[in-house]
């Protein structure tokens, strides 16, 4: 399928996933966690990958970064510069590693606590770029400056324990940038930070992609945040992409019931007394998806055919959605809810459903 291609407006594609499927080894069997994912990130783009825990978004990033747990199997194509990372020899693949940077949710856990900031930042430069200690240090100071840390000459001598979480996240970004990757995978990189710090990090990522043409894959479960900063947003459910839209459209005009549910489940500032709308049921991973559309047991707009087969991605304005009713739009869908006989297992998108306080 080539649906989302149309949305990939910004420049050439730096990272492209084609029919990528990943399975984890559980006991003696392989269980799918990522199924047939197609995804593009262009140079200078921030692309969001949104989903609940277990939806496969982190595993998608790990497939790209070659960081799958032992025994995992990945198929399909992860293309960078026209080459398939999944088909490379171990040696070639390792040589590609510096071109993919990855940052994580908890910088404190992902930085060696015994290494000073300087050592952390210069390690990659010395290993991959063969820089001298002095050159690497000068570069490290520049990097700290780039990521917006004051007094880099002083900070560089500090240990991770002497820095705040937000500052450490900047250090981790600086570390990831040190070897000049073309792709940056941000796995829930702002989730653990307070809102102000989060805004700072997001602004930094935005600046970096503009100044350096960095391709950023921004993984989050916060659809509003993705909407705010991403050029394009992929929504994952049970290991599959269920909707791909421009950052603007995903928020204003979601077409997959799951995306609608995610948006409805956000707390709103103006209505304080109501209980938060939730999506009925529990999220599932790809390994225990039912037959048909994986979302159908929780979907309020379910049709008989949803139980039969997995719908293809249907082109909708500025993207695509994997739903047979994708072209109907949310207004018409909610109007049709009462017709559905599955009302009791319904998704609580409409506010009437939630007045049970």
């Amino acid at each position: 399928m080539t649906g989302p291609e149309a949305a990939g407006a910004a420049g050439d594609v730096t990272l492209a996933l084609r029919r990528v499927s990943t399975s984890l080894r559980v006991g003696s069997e392989l269980r799918p966690v990522v199924v047939d994912v197609d995804l593009d990130v262009g140079a200078g783009e921030i692309v969001g990958l949104v989903g609940e825990s277990g939806s496969g978004k982190s595993m998608t990033a790990r497939t790209i970064a070659d960081a799958l747990p032992p025994g995992a199997r990945a198929s399909g194509e992860v293309l960078m510069g026209g080459e398939n990372l999944l088909a490379m020899s171990r040696r070639r693949r390792r040589a590609m590693q510096p071109s993919i940077g990855m940052i994580f949710q908890d910088p404190r856990a992902f930085i060696d606590p015994l290494w000073r900031v300087e050592d952390h930042l210069t390690e990659g430069l010395r290993v991959h770029k063969g820089m001298s200690r002095a050159d690497a240090r000068a570069r490290a100071i520049e990097l700290l400056d780039t990521v917006g840390i004051d007094q880099p000459e002083r900070r560089i001598h500090q240990y991770p324990g002497e820095m705040s979480g937000g500052m450490l996240q900047r250090v981790m970004i600086a570390g990831a940038l040190s070897v000049e990757p073309t792709v940056l995978l941000a796995d829930e990189a702002t989730t653990a930070l307070d809102v102000t710090t989060q805004a700072g990090i997001v602004r930094l990522l935005d600046r970096l992609r503009r100044e350096r043409g960095l391709a950023v894959l921004f993984i989050t479960h916060d659809l509003a945040l993705a909407h705010a900063i991403c050029d394009r947003v992929y929504v994952m459910y049970a290991g599959r992409i269920v909707e791909v839209r421009s950052g603007r459209r995903i928020f204003d005009d979601p077409r997959h019931p799951y995306t609608m549910g995610l948006l409805a489940a956000r707390p709103k500032v103006d209505s304080s007394s109501r209980r938060l709308p939730v999506i009925q049921g529990t999220p599932i991973s790809a390994m225990d998806s039912p037959a048909g559309c994986p979302f159908h047991p929780r979907c309020p707009y379910v049709l008989p055919e949803c139980r039969e087969r997995i719908p293809p991605l249907v082109a909708v304005p500025e993207g695509a959605a994997r739903c047979v009713r994708a072209t109907e739009g949310s207004a018409r869908l909610s109007a049709s809810t009462q017709v559905s006989s599955e009302a009791d297992v319904a998704l609580a998108v409409t506010e009437e459903n939630t007045e049970c306080s």
Binding site: M102, F104, G161
Partner: protein, 299 residues
């Protein structure tokens, strides 16, 4: 960001301090600083005495005074005299040398052999791990002292064969600590981050994993030093360790054991010396671990 704002810094600083104080004192409360300080002073004093023993002993520790066996403490002989009338104080000071040297050898050799084996087992996994771990289990299966006695019996009684025997039982101890610490450490996210950066596994092992388990290792080694000292003293007490004219505290105990009812000082003072060495070592080992945990917490 307001990180540069000095007013905010001032606001934040007291809060930071309070946090440190709370964690810091709670963690160290199990072990008052005085205890640690006294322990360190004691250890330094004992080591100094051992080094300078020839200069400070009042008498030659091996010169008998057969007319005054089992004499109690006096102005001339502060700790009294033993079965052959030798000065117990001088013997304790001299005995400190072998009593410290023995465990030092044991720990050094066990460290040099056990630590790489532990790393190898953790890192190689598979058959190498099974082979090394089962070999350790095999040695563990024997009671340590019994195994040591068998080894000494095979190689003849001497101080060095006692050291060798104890070393054999300490290699798996060291190896096992390293193996499990290494397995735990390798699971940590920062090690994964290093792999993702494309660093080689040797680099990660030597520069990241090893330093991070160093603190546990230092603490355990300190503790094992104390255990090794006790084990060597036990061998000497059984007459399988230091042989006359060599002196260590274990052999002094063995010697004084026969005359314990004439004069208890020959038993009390070497035993006290052992206690004064082993107990502070335990405290220091604890402190190393707690101190580091306190630092971790702040990180």
């Amino acid at each position: 960001m307001t990180a540069a704002d000095p007013g905010l810094d001032l606001l934040l600083e007291p809060a930071e301090d309070l946090r440190h104080k709370r964690y810091g004192s709670r963690l160290l409360s199990g072990l008052p600083k005085v205890v640690v300080a006294v322990s360190v002073v004691l250890l330094v004093v004992i080591v100094t005495c051992a080094i300078f023993a020839p200069l400070i002993v009042p008498y030659n520790p091996n010169t008998p005074d057969l007319l005054n066996p089992y004499t109690g403490p006096s102005a001339a002989h502060l700790f009294g005299q033993d079965s052959a009338g030798r000065d117990i104080l001088s013997r304790i000071l001299y005995g400190a040398r072998l009593s410290l040297l023995g465990p030092t050898f044991v720990i050094l050799i066990a460290f040099v052999i056990g630590v790489p084996l532990g790393f190898a087992a953790a890192y190689a996994g598979g058959w190498a791990d099974i082979a090394i771990s089962r070999a350790f289990d095999l040695i563990f299966a024997f009671p340590a002292l019994l195994l040591a006695i068998v080894i000494v019996a095979t190689f003849g009684t001497s101080f060095y064969s006692a050291v060798f025997a104890i070393t054999v039982t300490y290699i798996p101890l060291m190896g096992r600590v390293v193996r499990s610490a290494c397995l735990v450490e390798r699971q940590k996210p920062y090690v994964e981050a290093c792999r993702l950066q494309g660093y080689g596994s040797w680099r990660i092992l030597v520069l990241h994993v090893a330093p991070n388990i160093g603190r546990i290792l230092v603490s355990q080694t300190t503790l094992y030093f104390a255990y090794a000292l006790l084990d060597l003293a036990a061998l000497s007490f059984l007459g399988l360790g230091a042989q006359p004219p060599q002196i260590d505290w274990g052999s002094m105990l063995e010697n004084a054991n026969q005359g314990v009812f004439q004069s208890a000082t020959g038993v009390i003072f070497p035993a006290l010396a052992i206690i004064l060495l082993v107990v502070p070592l335990n405290f220091v080992a604890d402190w190393i671990l707690e101190y580091n945990r306190g630092r971790e917490e702040r990180r």
